[in-house]
């Protein structure tokens, strides 16, 4: 089938992720949405790689995964510590600083 469709899928996933970031309150879920966006990127990379017939894209995908993993580590650490301090993972509660 035409690989372009995968691109559309990637775009779709990316958008879903972005919207999720915008509408979800729970920090964890927000974070998951970000991960979804990253994976959408991966899909796009792989697809392009296929289309171009070179492997760069696939390799990049690996890198992305690694980075994403690192992000997870850091992100969860932060979110968890906040959760322990406030007993809430809602990003809206975290609004001491404003204006």
């Amino acid at each position: 089938m035409n690989p372009v469709n995968y691109l559309y899928l990637a775009a779709l996933l990316f958008t879903i992720g972005a919207v999720g970031v915008l509408i979800r309150r729970n920090a964890i879920v927000v974070f998951m949405c970000v991960e979804l966006m990253l994976n959408a990127c991966n899909l796009a990379f792989v697809t392009f790689s296929r289309m171009h017939g070179n492997l760069d894209g696939q390799i990049i995908a690996f890198f992305t995964m690694v980075v994403a993993a690192a992000e997870v580590v850091v992100g969860l650490a932060i979110i968890v510590s906040v959760f322990r301090a406030r007993h809430s993972a809602s990003v809206d509660d975290a609004s001491l600083m404003k204006l």
Binding site: N54, R86, S95, M97
Partner: protein, 553 residues
Amino acid sequence: MSTSAVAPSVHSLWTTAAGPLEKIPAPHIEYTQLSPVLIVIGAAIVSVLVEAFVPRKGRYHSQVFLSVLALAAAFAAVVGLAAGGYGSTKAHIAAMGAIAVDGPALFLQGTILLASIVAIFTFAERRLDPADHGHKVDSFAAEAAAVPGSEQERAAVKAGFTTTEVFPLALFAIAGMLVFPAANDLLTLFVALEVFSLPLYLLCAVARRKRLMSQEAAVKYFLLGAFSSAFLLFGIALLYGYAGSVSYATIARVVDGSIGSVDPALADTMGNDALLLIGFAMVLMGLLFKVGAVPFHMWTPDVYQGAPTPVTGFMAAATKVAAFGALLRLLYVVLPGLTWDWRPVMWGVAVVTMLGGAIVAITQTDIKRLLAYSSIAHAGFLLAGVIAATPSGISSVLFYLGAYSFVTIGAFAVVTLVRDAGGEATHLSKWAGLGRRSPLVAAVFAVFLLAFAGIPLTSGFSGKFAVFKAAADGGAGALVVVGVIASAIAAFFYIRVIVLMFFSEPKADGPTVAVPSALTSITITAGVVVTLVLGVAPQYFLDLANQASVFVR
């Protein structure tokens, strides 16, 4: 030289051969030319080991020693490279196309390293707070993992723990920052971005006082940072799709058409530039987020306010330098062929950034937020220089970054000195009459403010003049006018602080000014000296910036 020599569009460090059975060439790395980065990364790893093995008592000193040593060595390496002509004649692309070693890169790396050294000094400051249970304390939590106010934390404090992890974290961040402006392909760009962002997220969260705000800052910074990097990554994907490669050189050539766009497989499906433009916009967004340009700036005030002040200073200075370096390289190396597309867009961004930052700053009541907004306004001024799209534009931005970073670190260092029972007294009302209580500190801070305001005989003026001059030369006269207006507005709130410090009577419950150790003193002194030297006799540094203003392609 590197990629084109091997094969078009195939980019060798990451992929082995695209075709079936070719010899896998061992990657060829110019270690000496990458030495600054390598030194810092090495030091970072070592200091992780220090954390692991050195007993608590020894950690602080060994960490401080190690980091300062590493940074100094890295800086020496940079100077060495520059002296060796890698900044000009021998500039080329190292690490098989991954990293550029050229004037801008070296200049910015040097700036970042110097800024980092003084920043590290403020990290290491332990005189400001009164000793706790007989243990000297710095600005960082005794045990970052412990819940604020919990038993566990009290125990940690009693035990005299300190979060010496900040040093390795900082070193990693610095390493990332060093790579960022030198990155010569989008992947390296992305990796570097993450490498310096992730530690910063953590650093934001480990304040000793006001932990909740600190953690909140971290959350905000992290989520938004991740969000923006996702955009960046998708943009990279699209550019890759457009050019079939992430190497700057290749993309550039595809853009200006010296390589036929992409292989026929794609031609029928998308022969248009939509990929290029959308991808470019998203990558741009990722970078603008880092430099804190409107409308991607909203994290700045919150994070600056919440993060431990030394970290804020470090971020404000070093991140901006790195990000603007990357931005310059992207616009000047990858997309020169696209100038007529990105210039108008950047115009808009620059204008709203200058005005937005300046205007909102007027009504701020917290000194750290105030400085945050001022940094946004300054990002706008820098963008004006970027837009010039001339060598003088590059050099002016380089100079401005150098000048700005020291003023910023100095200013935040002064902020750490003004304290009351609750830690730093960052609310402006607390600063009333500071000039009466401790004229020296107030005077120093006034110097920094005047530099921010761009008053002549300070580095701020030289930088602003250079940038505006470049912009005007580059035919962006209107931007200069907007910039001037923004400066006028900005002047107002810097003046307000000065008025507050000098002309209003000190409050009875006003803050005390802590007497810092040599470390912070050095930082502040450095800030003042640089401010005045670059203000009065900037010629030498302007020359440096000029020599450093050519990107290798």
